[in-house]
């Protein structure tokens, strides 16, 4: 908690990484499945997932709309406008769904998790829990980690549905494509496991990453209003960068 006072500042990212890893190990090693935690996890799923629905639904719909608009325009120059549903579904399931959902999730839910835990730290609520012999790792950190792992894939699924509906609205209702061809081309090319299943694996990994970073930056925030503000910013930056890097790594493994 004294990252600014050390002389070797360029080593800070590596120290952050080490601390984040140790933090995660502690959180997982103290995991016990109690009744209390299931209820708390569900509450966190509400705060992280349900509260993100508006941005995910709106975002997904317009991403589907604009993606279809752009590919339709390009593909129709080659007389291949029928392939628009294939392009839409494949790019959504494989990349855009998981990545964009996680970025939106980091901005909407990750920041509030960081600010919440950071303020708990600043107002000494975490110490109070400790004094009452309630492990804050178990009461605060673990439910939020689990909630992220559940909520992000759920949001990805909803995002994908909304984006495909956006694609249908543009291609079928606005450009007059044939709906049977639209669905048939999608069904003929998208494979359940290789395209859709791999995308959902990514979603689980991203959900874990996003909630881990959010909880970590909140946990280690300096207990001042400035420290909480900084931690919130760091959550967004770290999540965005690491999700994009992890996306490349996972894609390379899966293809």
């Amino acid at each position: 908690m004294n990252s600014a006072s050390t002389p070797t500042r360029w080593l800070d990212p590596i120290r952050h990484l080490g601390r984040a890893g140790l933090f995660l190990l502690t959180a997982i090693s103290r995991m016990r499945l109690t009744r209390l935690q299931a209820g708390e996890t569900l509450r966190q799923i509400y705060f992280a997932g349900v509260r993100s629905l508006v941005i995910i639904v709106t975002g997904g719909f317009f991403v589907g709309l604009v993606l279809t608009l752009q590919t339709y325009d390009t593909l129709s120059r080659f007389g291949a406008a029928d392939a628009v549903s294939t392009v839409l579904a494949l790019s959504l399931f494989r990349e855009l769904g998981p990545v964009l959902t996680t970025l939106l999730f980091a901005g909407r839910a990750g920041t509030s998790i960081t600010a919440e835990i950071g303020l708990m730290r600043a107002t000494e609520q975490l110490d109070a829990l400790d004094l009452m012999a309630i492990d804050p790792m178990e009461r605060i950190v673990q439910p939020r980690l689990l909630a992220g792992i559940v909520a992000v894939p759920a949001l990805v699924l909803i995002f994908n549905v909304c984006a495909i509906l956006g694609g249908v609205v543009f291609a079928v209702f606005m450009m007059g494509s044939d709906p049977i061809t639209f669905w048939a081309n999608m069904q003929a090319t998208v494979e359940l496991w290789r395209d859709f299943g791999h995308g959902m694996l990514k979603a689980v990994a991203f959900g874990f990453l996003a909630s881990w970073l959010a909880v970590y930056f909140g946990w280690t925030a300096r207990p001042t209003s400035e420290g909480v503000a900084l931690a919130t910013t760091q959550t967004v930056i770290a999540t965005a960068i690491s999700v994009l890097i992890l996306d490349f790594v996972l894609s390379a493994f899966m293809l």
């Binding site: 209820g39 569900l42 509450r43 799923i45 509400y46 997932g49 349900v50 629905l53 080659f78 007389g79 291949a80 029928d82 392939a83 579904a89 399931f93 559940v150 894939p153 759920a154 949001l155 699924l157 909803i158 994908n160 549905v161 495909i164 044939d178 049977i180 061809t181 669905w183 048939a184 081309n185 999608m186 069904q187 003929a188 090319t189 998208v190 494979e191 359940l192 395209d195 859709f196």
Partner: protein, 153 residues
């Protein structure tokens, strides 16, 4: 602030919504899709279907009226047997309708085009279309053109 009961209920609805989305995507958007059961079946044999795939569209006069359900090889005649499902509203196609395999554009998918005949008898469920034209294969055309023009001289 909502009560904890309400929050748990909303979270449950949210997860149900996600499961609904999962089922929708798995069934409607991937290759495990369940074909709509409406319409009636007709079959047609082609000596070569080219790149025709299941779920390709079946059209008449450029309008989609059905889709290809399955393609397999007839073990006796060694011809490709294509099963099509045609929407119920087009149940009065003449019995002597002919079927051809076309390509949509240069890069487009292949589809079946039906051409109505003049018979008063309609096609019924399970009937076979007798008049068929196979897929046009560019390589075959080129080969034939080259060798035919040599022979004509």
């Amino acid at each position: 602030m909502k009560s904890s009961h309400q929050i748990e209920l909303t979270a449950g609805v949210f997860l149900l919504l996600a499961i609904g989305a999962l089922i929708f995507l798995a069934v409607q958007a991937t290759d495990r899709g369940v074909v709509a059961a409406g319409g009636y079946q007709v079959t047609a044999s082609f000596s070569n279907v080219g790149g025709l795939k299941p779920r390709a569209r079946v059209s008449m006069g450029g309008v989609t009226i059905g889709m290809v359900e399955s393609i397999n090889l007839d073990p006796d005649t060694f011809e490709a047997r294509v099963v099509m499902r045609i929407a119920d509203e087009f149940d009065d196609l003449p019995e002597d309708t002919s079927a051809s395999i076309f390509t949509a554009g240069i890069l487009g998918d292949q589809f079946i085009g039906l051409e109505p005949g003049g018979s008063p008898e309609p096609l019924r469920d399970g009937d076979r279309i007798l008049l068929t034209n196979s897929a046009l294969q560019l390589e075959q055309l080129i080969t034939r053109y080259m060798f035919d023009s040599e022979g004509d001289d």
